[in-house]
Amino acid sequence: MDWASLSIVGMLASLVAASTPILLAALGETVVERAGVLNLGVEGMMISGAVIGFIGAVSTGNIVFGFLCGAVGGAALASIFALLSQYFLTNHVATGLALTLFGLGFSAMIGQPYVGKKPPPISDLSLPYLSDIPALGRILFSHDAVVYVSLALTFCVWYFLRRTKTGLILRAVGENHDAAHGLGYRVVRIRVLAILFGGAMAGLGGAYLSLARVPQWTEGMTAGAGWIALAIVVFASWRPERVLLGAYLFGGITILQLNLQAAGMTLNPAYLSMAPYLMTIIVLVLISRQGKQQNSHAPAALGRIFYAPR
């Protein structure tokens, strides 16, 4: 195997791009779960965002419009989940699974005519001077705009949850919906908005996959990224700053195994492809090992159905 072909700077630079879709989806799901809703449909919302964003960008030639379409598409799928889980009081686990199946099928169906097409190119937003710094410049300051947006969003979500009154109310709803209801907060409305935000973020992450990371549309292209995003939320103990860390860790594993494959490691490539999934399991175990301590981080009303009798 050719160790010399592995470039640390190159790998770190592509790590950031590889992590961005998962980071966006996991940030959205953090807000959703903080509001006490467990939406397991991230994979479905992500892939719908990927295909709708792709169609939007290809048919108008405008990549920004494509990302917008992706976010709206993800939110549209999330609205199905919001309707069922908040108004029809359905089981969150089953509804989320249905959303994932539906999203996988729906995206394959509407994306069929777009297989093999090329989206408009996304340009790197190399920051002047900063991107000329050796090594660091390439790792940190020469990415496309969405990468910077995702970092800004990480800060915004952290600020919203920790420092704003609305964020506090949202967390109160997630900890004890009956008490929040008793105080006069609109539990259902807050949760619906959180679910829609989560959908938009997952859709944006999906659109980043199909428009920037790959960039093309193939059936089932998310390949479990949505589920990894869900695992990262647990890993991060529902805290946005740790979501960033988790997403970059997983991006790193993905990039490392891809580079090892390219460098001609003698192991069957299938074994290397297992790495991100095995890593997810190992991290889940390590995090859950803290047992009760970790469970206290989980929003107390997570996945519980809110019913207010009149």
Binding site: L89, F102, W227, L284
Partner: protein
């Protein structure tokens, strides 16, 4: 203003009719969806749900497929129904199905060409063992470390798919397959081949096993203490613990049951209908089975009927792909919608709608 009022007791009537209502609404939604996609909705519905059973030229090929597709789905769904009642979510049955198939096939390949008498039985046991072993990973990680079984079992599906790819391109690759990633076919080795018992019916040993398992599952859920214990655990976890039901034991048992049945389904599939392993072996039966378990109300008899319905959608989907050039994944749309409508209809089991005049309620 419409509000929901909780019923004192879940409605039995609504519980029986919810799946029927969900099916009918799914038909309507399918028609609308195809109309939006510029397809003739009547033709699409006919190809999806009618032609596989009754079309003169097609049905002779597709009708036997009904049992072939339904058997693995029913087997897996029966296993899942235990855990789902107890609130234990094994979402990775697809991975256990694949690992069962790999274990069974490896035994069959080791004995390939020998005249050892119990090959088929050994393969079946290996299939069960493979599925149980794969399900024990999320079970033990949850019991020992509190790791979420939904995420772990699901991650293991992706690992199993990669493991299958490694096997069929590596140690289990057929020496006569040239460039193709596939194992030897059991069609050329009758002692390990799970063929049709009556020709042109699709009836193979897996179908028999699915029906026998349904009867056994019915007996356990209705008359055995274990069936009672999982219901208590699902409905009232605290009461369960106080009455001496050990949650950890239940997690291990439920995951072992669902993993074992998924592995068994993998064995019947890999020794019969496909008769070999390829990278295309994973067909999503493990995920379809989740819908079947819900559509069948987690009730073994209901699951048999639900399995047949979902098998019909799969065959119809394949036919629609062939005749109307609709992507195969359209079946997932139908399955997803069916589960949406079922869950929505289920609200009537536990609640009833009450109409209030505006300003009064």
């Amino acid at each position: 203003m419409i509000t929901l009022v909780k019923r004192p007791e879940p409605s039995k009537l609504a519980g029986v009719f919810a799946p029927v209502v969900a099916l009918l609404v799914t038909f309507i939604a399918c028609a609308i969806l195809f109309a939006i996609l510029d397809r003739d909705p009547w033709e699409a519905l006919r190809v999806l749900f009618w032609d596989p059973l009754f079309d003169e030229t097609m049905a002779s090929f597709t009708r036997p497929q009904l049992l072939v597709k339904a058997a693995p789905i029913i087997l897996i769904a029966l296993g899942l129904s235990f855990g789902f009642q107890a609130g234990i979510w094994n979402i990775g049955a697809e991975g256990q199905y694949i690992m069962g198939a790999i274990a069974a096939t490896s035994v069959g390949l080791v004995c390939y060409g020998t005249s050892f008498p119990y090959i088929f039985l050994l393969m079946g046991l290996a299939g069960i063992a493979g599925g149980v072993a794969w399900a024990m990973i999320p079970a033990l990680l949850r019991v020992r470390f509190g790791a979420n079984e939904i995420l772990v079992s699901l991650m293991l599906v992706y690992v199993a798919i990669q493991f299958l790819a490694a096997m069929v391109t590596g140690p289990m690759k057929s020496p006569t397959a040239m460039g193709f990633p596939e194992t030897r076919s059991f069609r050329d080795f009758p002692p390990a081949f799970n063929g049709e018992l009556i020709s042109n019916t699709g009836l193979h040993w897996g179908v028999v096993a699915a029906l026998l398992t349904a009867i056994a599952a019915h007996a356990i859920q209705k008359h055995h203490l274990f069936g009672f214990q999982i219901r208590v655990l699902g409905l009232a976890p605290k009461a369960a613990r106080l009455s001496g039901i050990e949650p950890t034991r239940m997690v291990v048992l439920c995951l072992a049951l669902s993993g074992g049945l998924a592995g068994l389904a993998g064995f019947y599939e890999a020794s019969g209908p496909t008769a070999k392993l390829t990278t295309d072996f994973p067909s999503g039966y493990g995920f379809t089975a989740i819908i079947v378990a819900f559509l069948g109300r987690l009730n073994p008899i209901g699951i048999v009927f639900a399995g047949l319905v979902l098998a019909l959608t799969i065959i119809g989907g394949e036919l629609a792909q062939l005749m109307l050039n609709i992507p195969a994944a359209a079946v997932l749309v139908i399955q997803g919608m069916l589960l949406f409508f079922l869950l929505a209809a289920d609200v009537l089991v536990r609640y009833r709608f009450v109409l209030h005049p505006v300003g009064v309620g």
